[in-house]
C-alpha cells in the first residue's frame, strides 16, 4: 500500500533556486535531488518561478514541521534559508499567491488549481523546428 498519499505543489522563485534544491535533497534523501529545480519555466508576469508537483509521505511533511539532521550533501545554511522562506499551505480554502521571496507549497491541491492559485503561467516554450 502506498504511503505517498499527499499531493504536494511547490513554486520557487528563481532567486531561491539553490536553497530550494537543498530543501529538495533534504526531503528526497538523495544527492541527485540537488538537481530538482533546474528550469524556471513559469512566471507571474514579473518573476520567473520553478514549479513542481509530486506526491509525498507523511514522513516528508514531518521533516518540514520538525527538521531533523540533514544528510551530508545538504548545506545546513541553505536548508535553513529554504525553510525560513517556506510558506506551507495545508488548507485548500486558504491558498496564497506565489511571492518573489517565498517558496510556496500547497498540500492536497492539483496541478492546474495550484498554478492558478499561485498566479503562475507557463512562459512561452521554444517549439521544435
Amino acid at each position: 500500500m502506498t504511503q505517498f498519499i499527499y499531493q504536494l505543489s511547490v513554486s520557487v522563485p528563481e532567486s531561491l533556486t539553490e536553497c530550494a534544491n537543498h530543501l529538495a535533497a533534504y526531503l528526497g534523501g538523495s544527492e541527485a535531488d540537488l538537481n530538482t529545480y533546474t528550469n524556471a519555466r513559469y512566471t507571474d508576469g514579473t518573476t520567473d518561478y520553478h514549479f513542481l508537483a509530486t506526491v509525498v509521505t507523511a514522513g516528508a511533511l514531518q521533516k518540514v514541521a520538525v527538521p531533523s539532521e540533514p544528510p551530508e550533501f545538504v548545506d545546513p545554511l541553505m536548508l535553513s534559508q529554504a525553510l525560513q522562506s517556506l510558506v506551507l499551505i495545508t488548507d485548500p480554502e486558504s491558498l496564497v499567491q506565489a511571492e518573489p521571496d517565498k517558496i510556496t507549497a500547497y498540500i492536497g491541491v492539483g496541478v492546474e488549481q495550484s498554478l492558478s492559485s499561485m498566479g503562475l503561467t507557463l512562459k512561452p516554450e521554444a517549439l521544435e523546428a
Binding site: T2, F4, I5, A24, L122
Partner: protein, 385 residues
C-alpha cells in the same frame, strides 16, 4: 538427470529466432504474445516497458524499492533484453505508478472502502451515489439532494441527482462502505478506489498499470544511450491516455531534441486535438493529425518510420491515420538517450498516462504488427483490437 519426457504435464518452450514465423509459446510465462521473443528475438535494439509487471517497477533509480500504486517511479526495467531501463534520479520529477480497470473509470470518489467526508468536482449531468452500510451521506455545494441513509451492511442504497458544475461536498456520518459516485441514472459494478486515485480496481476486470505524467515536471529517460546507429527503420508502440489538449506534450523523444540532433524521432501532440510522430535522419518529417483526438481519450499509437525510404506511417487503434513521404535526409538513427514525458526533461511536458511502451529498431509489419498492437491494446483501457 532424468529425461524431460518423464516429467508429467506439458512444457512447450518458445523456439528462438529460427521459427519466428510460426511460433509456439510456453503457457508458463509467455502468454499468447511475448514482445521479448516476438519483437526482440533476433537481437533487435530497443526497449519494452511492461507497466503491469510489479517486479520491474521501482521507487528509486537504483532499483532497490518496488513501487506500488500511487508511488513515484524512479526506474522501470526494460524487458526487451537490451537493458535500456528508464530512470528518474530526482525524486520530485518522478511520474506516479497507477492502475485502472480495463473498461475505464466510473467511480469519482477516493478511499471508497470506508468513505470519509470529501469534495468531488461535478459536471451538470445526472449522477448516482450508492453505498452499503448504516451511515449517512449528506450533500452540499453543487447539490443538496438527499441525504442518502444506509439500511444495512449488505444493502446498497442509491440516490440519483443532477448537480451543478463545481465542487460537491459529501459529508459522511456513520459507516459508509463500498461507496461509488458515478455519472448516469444507475449504479454499475462497484469500483474500489484506494487512498489515492492512482489505485482503482474492479472485480472481474483486468487492471491496466500505467505511469502518470503531470504535464508540469515529471519525466524519465533511459539510463544510457540507446544505440540505434545500425538501423534507419523504427517501430514505436505506445498505449496512451491524453489528459489535456492545452499544451504541446512529448510522450517519447529520442535525443535531447529532434530539432537539434540528427537520427531522432518524436511521439507527441500539439496544443490541439491531435497527435503525431516525427522522424529525422538529417531532415525532419512529420505524420500527424490535428483533430479527432480530443482529451481525455485513450489510444494505441503505432509509428513506423524509414529514413532512407522517406516513409512514416502513423496509426491509432490499429488503423492508419496519417502518413508522410517527406524527405528525412540520410543516415541511421542515433546512439542517444530516449526521453519520456518531456523534451530532455526540461520542456514540453506530457499531461497524461502511458500504459505501455515498446520501441523497436526495426520495421514491423503484417501479422507481427497486428499482434503487437493487440498486445498494447490489452494494456490500454477502453481500447479493444
Amino acid at each position: 538427470m532424468g529425461s524431460l519426457s518423464n516429467v508429467p504435464g506439458t512444457l512447450t518452450l518458445r523456439p528462438i529466432a529460427a521459427s519466428l514465423s510460426n511460433p509456439t509459446y510456453g503457457s508458463i510465462t509467455t502468454g499468447d504474445f511475448n514482445p521479448a521473443f516476438e519483437l526482440f528475438g533476433n537481437g533487435e535494439q530497443g526497449l519494452w516497458y511492461d507497466l503491469n509487471d510489479d517486479s520491474t517497477i521501482f521507487q528509486d533509480s537504483a532499483g532497490t524499492t518496488l513501487a506500488s500504486w500511487g508511488d513515484p517511479v524512479g526506474r522501470v526495467n526494460d524487458k526487451s533484453g537490451n537493458g535500456n531501463n528508464a530512470v528518474q534520479s530526482t525524486a520530485g520529477s518522478r511520474p506516479i505508478r497507477g492502475r485502472m480497470p480495463k473498461a475505464g473509470v466510473r467511480n469519482l470518489l477516493t478511499a471508497t472502502a470506508t468513505l470519509a467526508t470529501q469534495n468531488v468536482t461535478t459536471t451538470n449531468v445526472q449522477h448516482t451515489l450508492s453505498f452499503t452500510g448504516t451511515g449517512t451521506v449528506t450533500l452540499s455545494g453543487t447539490s443538496t439532494a438527499g441525504p442518502l441513509v444506509g439500511t444495512g451492511v449488505n444493502d446498497r442504497v442509491s440516490l440519483t441527482f443532477t448537480p451543478t458544475a463545481g465542487t460537491l461536498t459529501l459529508t459522511v456520518t456513520g459507516s459508509v462502505t463500498l461507496a461509488q459516485l458515478q455519472t448516469g441514472a444507475a449504479f454499475d459494478a462497484y469500483q474500489a478506489v484506494g487512498l489515492t486515485r492512482f489505485d482503482i480496481t474492479e472485480s472481474g476486470q483486468p487492471s491496466c498499470g500505467y505511469l502518470s505524467f503531470n504535464g508540469s515536471n515529471q519525466w524519465m529517460q533511459t539510463a544510457a544511450a540507446v544505440n540505434f546507429s545500425s538501423t534507419d527503420e523504427m517501430s514505436v508502440f505506445a498505449g496512451v491516455r491524453k489528459v489535456s489538449d492545452a499544451a504541446i506534450g512529448f510522450v517519447i523523444e529520442h535525443t535531447t531534441s529532434r530539432a537539434a540532433n540528427n537520427g531522432a524521432f518524436t511521439l507527441a501532440h500539439g496544443a490541439d486535438a491531435g497527435f503525431g510522430y516525427s522522424s529525422k535522419g538529417t531532415v525532419s518529417a512529420t505524420a500527424e493529425v490535428v483533430s479527432g483526438i480530443t482529451a481525455p481519450t485513450n489510444r494505441v499509437f503505432t509509428a513506423l518510420s524509414d529514413i532512407s525510404a522517406d516513409s512514416i506511417v502513423f496509426r491509432a487503434n490499429g488503423a492508419q491515420i496519417a502518413t508522410s513521404a517527406g524527405d528525412q535526409g540520410t543516415g541511421n538513427y542515433a546512439n542517444a538517450v530516449v526521453y519520456f514525458g518531456a523534451r530532455a526533461g526540461s520542456s514540453l511536458f506530457f499531461n497524461g498516462l502511458v500504459f505501455s511502451t515498446i520501441i523497436r529498431g526495426a520495421s514491423t509489419s503484417g501479422t507481427l504488427l497486428t499482434r503487437t498492437e493487440q498486445y498494447v491494446a490489452r494494456q490500454t483501457p477502453a481500447v479493444n483490437l
